[in-house]
């Protein structure tokens, strides 16, 4: 018991198996386990299964599940409806992102002014975000009827409004605009926070140099908030590819196929027409588009974002 231990022996004996680092590792795994396992089960496995199902046809009524090889992919290439769907998806997403981002920025700049009662305005602009999405869309579907509220208001000013939901162009405008008014409040708040984060000294300096307000905005504000713009635009674009309820309630993809975006088409094929295999094939197309867009934006981020904290 009185044997003097060598220094190395001492340290070995005194360091238990559960070192701080080991305990940390364990804690780390335990902390992320629910999320990581969840992603594996509810995202990664289904993703692999999408590929598998896209090679099959599943008849729900007759309960058959048959291997069909690449037949669904041939169908994808020869589907006469698909080009229209892709065009509608592209138009919808582009218009939505552009309109959403510019309106959000405009509102954020307005709300950033020193005005009495500005929080009331902020609350009102934000309020559609918390209104149930389907309720909001149903209301707009009334307002956009040919004899509905919007044309009633236009009539007041002597303007004969179009039959909004029955013409391809106006129907597309309608679904974009309804969606933007619903959700622009979120981006508006994020932009507002970013604007308020811009150091005031920068503007002071610019004013001393006599730089006009508009150039201050372009030279100082935009670069300073560009990381927020970048991130919200990624989220908005990916979000625009998931828009489903609004289309289902407002236009059911019509008139013609003019507002049939990819997600809606996918739903129709799989769950209304019961072409599950083809639906899975369309899912893969959707996945490729989302992944490509995200990758592209991540690349652009490096070039466009001026300032990152």
């Amino acid at each position: 018991m009185t044997v003097v231990a060598s220094p190395s022996e001492l340290s070995r004996r005194k360091r238990p198996y559960w070192t701080m680092a080991r305990r940390d590792s364990l804690a780390g795994y335990v902390f992320v386990a629910p999320q990581a396992i969840g992603i594996a089960v509810f995202v990664l496995v289904p993703l692999l299964l999408v590929f598998w199902y896209s090679l099959h046809e599943w008849n729900v009524l007759a309960q058959t599940f048959r291997f069909k090889g690449l037949e669904n992919y041939h169908r994808l290439l020869s589907d006469p409806g698909l080009p229209e769907v892709l065009i509608a998806t592209a138009i919808f997403s582009i218009f939505l992102v552009v309109f959403n981002m510019s309106l959000a920025l405009l509102l954020a700049v307005l709300l950033n002014q020193k005005l009495r009662g500005i929080t009331v305005f902020r609350t009102l602009f934000f309020s559609p975000v918390v209104v149930s999405l389907v309720a909001w869309t149903i209301v707009w579907s009334f307002l956009l009827q040919n004899n509905g509220g919007l044309n009633g208001i236009l009539d007041h000013f002597g303007i004969e409004g179009p039959n909004w939901l029955r013409h391809p162009t106006t129907a597309m405008i309608a679904v974009v605009v309804v969606q933007v008014f619903k959700n622009v409040g979120l981006n508006m708040i994020l932009f507002l926070a970013a604007l308020q984060g811009v150091p005031k000294e920068l503007y002071e300096a610019a004013r001393v140099d006599g730089i006009p307000a508009f150039r201050q905005f372009r030279r100082i504000t935009l670069p300073m908030i560009s990381p927020t713009v970048m991130l919200t635009s990624i989220i908005t674009i990916v979000g625009s590819l998931q828009v489903f309820a609004q289309i289902a309630v407002l236009t059911q993809g019509g008139p013609g196929m003019s507002t049939t975006v990819l997600v809606y088409y996918l739903y129709q094929q799989a769950f209304e027409f019961h072409n599950f295999g083809y639906g899975a094939t369309l899912s893969i197309l959707l996945f490729v588009i989302v992944a490509a867009l995200t990758f592209l934006q991540w690349q652009m981020r490096k070039r466009i974002v001026f300032y990152e904290n």
Binding site: R23, D24, S25, A27, G28, F31, P34, Q35, A36, G38, I39, F42, L49, W52, Y53, L107, L110, Q113, K114, L115, T123, L124, S127, P128, V129, V130, S132, L133, V134, A135, W136, I138, V139, F142, L143, G148, G152, I153, V177, F181, I189, L190, L195, A213, P227, T228, V238, L241, Q242, F244, A245, A248, A270, F271, G279, L286, F287, V290, V305, E308
Partner: protein
């Protein structure tokens, strides 16, 4: 940009904002007022801003046509569980990715981030078959499990991680020296400090679950299991004709409570969102 404005400029700005407000406020106003109009006045031309005749019977009818109270409960309890579950698991994962140094942390984080690339719309067909084989079709499980563990929770994890990264380390360091375990630190120090981020995540998650539409119509097939968004589109007579005023009454009942909560707590709402760490 915050400069004192001339009175003329102020009037111009107020005017601009008032005009811009119309499409944000009018639909909600119209929904609430029309829900108490007799059906013939809903399509009055030009539309009535303030109803001249009242008919409240639609509110009762909404409960007769569908098990609306049950559907309300379904939406509410699903949203509550999803929000609670997401808060717990995302803050844990977000904390670990931000603070704890463990092997393959970055790899795991990248794997989790893949979830952002794969919205549940992409995997809806296999999810349908998976839940089918687990006997969970026409139950609320898919509406709880997918948001809490699947793609929608990744965004929450990301927000939480960003927030924890920005949190000063010193407080935790002191506790670690005192020999506090990771879980204790997370629970007693980090989590209480992250209330703004938790608030933002709670709002996002609640609204996401509350608005879910594709998943319910895919997974649920009996009216007493339906959630509100799905139920709202189903106020039709036996031949598919829409029952407009009842639909509007139900829409109002769906929208108003959340709206009122928001108006009362709007400061926390908006400021919580502003703190999501989405600044880069």
């Amino acid at each position: 940009m915050k400069t004192d404005l001339s009175p003329r400029m102020k009037i111009a700005l107020y005017g601009l904002m008032l005009i811009l407000l119309v499409p944000f406020v009018f639909p909600t106003w119209w929904m609430v007022t029309s829900s108490v109009k007799p059906i013939s006045d809903i399509f009055a031309f030009p539309p009535e801003i303030i109803p001249s005749r009242f008919d409240f019977s639609t509110y009762g009818q909404a409960f007769e046509l569908q098990p609306f109270a049950k559907q309300y409960w379904n939406s509410a309890y699903i949203a509550a569980i999803v929000t609670g579950g997401t808060l717990i698991f995302s803050s844990m994962a977000g904390y670990a990715f931000a603070r704890i140094d463990f092997p393959f942390a970055n790899t795991l984080f990248m794997v989790v981030l893949i979830g952002l690339l794969i919205p549940s719309e992409v995997t809806i067909v296999p999810l349908f078959r998976l839940f089918l084989s687990w006997d969970m079709i026409n139950t609320h499980w898919p509406l709880i499990l997918v948001p809490v563990f699947g793609a929608p929770s990744v965004f929450a994890t990301f927000i939480m991680r960003q927030f924890f990264i920005a949190l000063p380390k010193e407080l935790e360091e002191a506790a670690r020296v005192d020999g506090l375990g990771r879980f204790k630190i997370f629970w007693t120090i980090a989590l209480p400090l992250s209330k703004p981020a938790l608030g933002a995540v709670a709002i996002f998650t609640f609204l996401h679950s509350w608005n879910l539409y594709l998943e319910p119509i895919v997974f649920l097939s009996s009216p007493e299991k339906f959630t509100l968004p799905q139920a709202l589109t189903q106020f039709t007579d036996a031949y598919g004709g829409a029952m407009w005023n009842i639909q509007l009454a139900a829409a109002t009942m769906t929208a108003l409570p959340v709206l009122i909560v928001f108006v009362i707590a709007q400061r926390q709402f908006v400021e919580g969102l502003a703190h999501t760490g989405l600044k880069g």
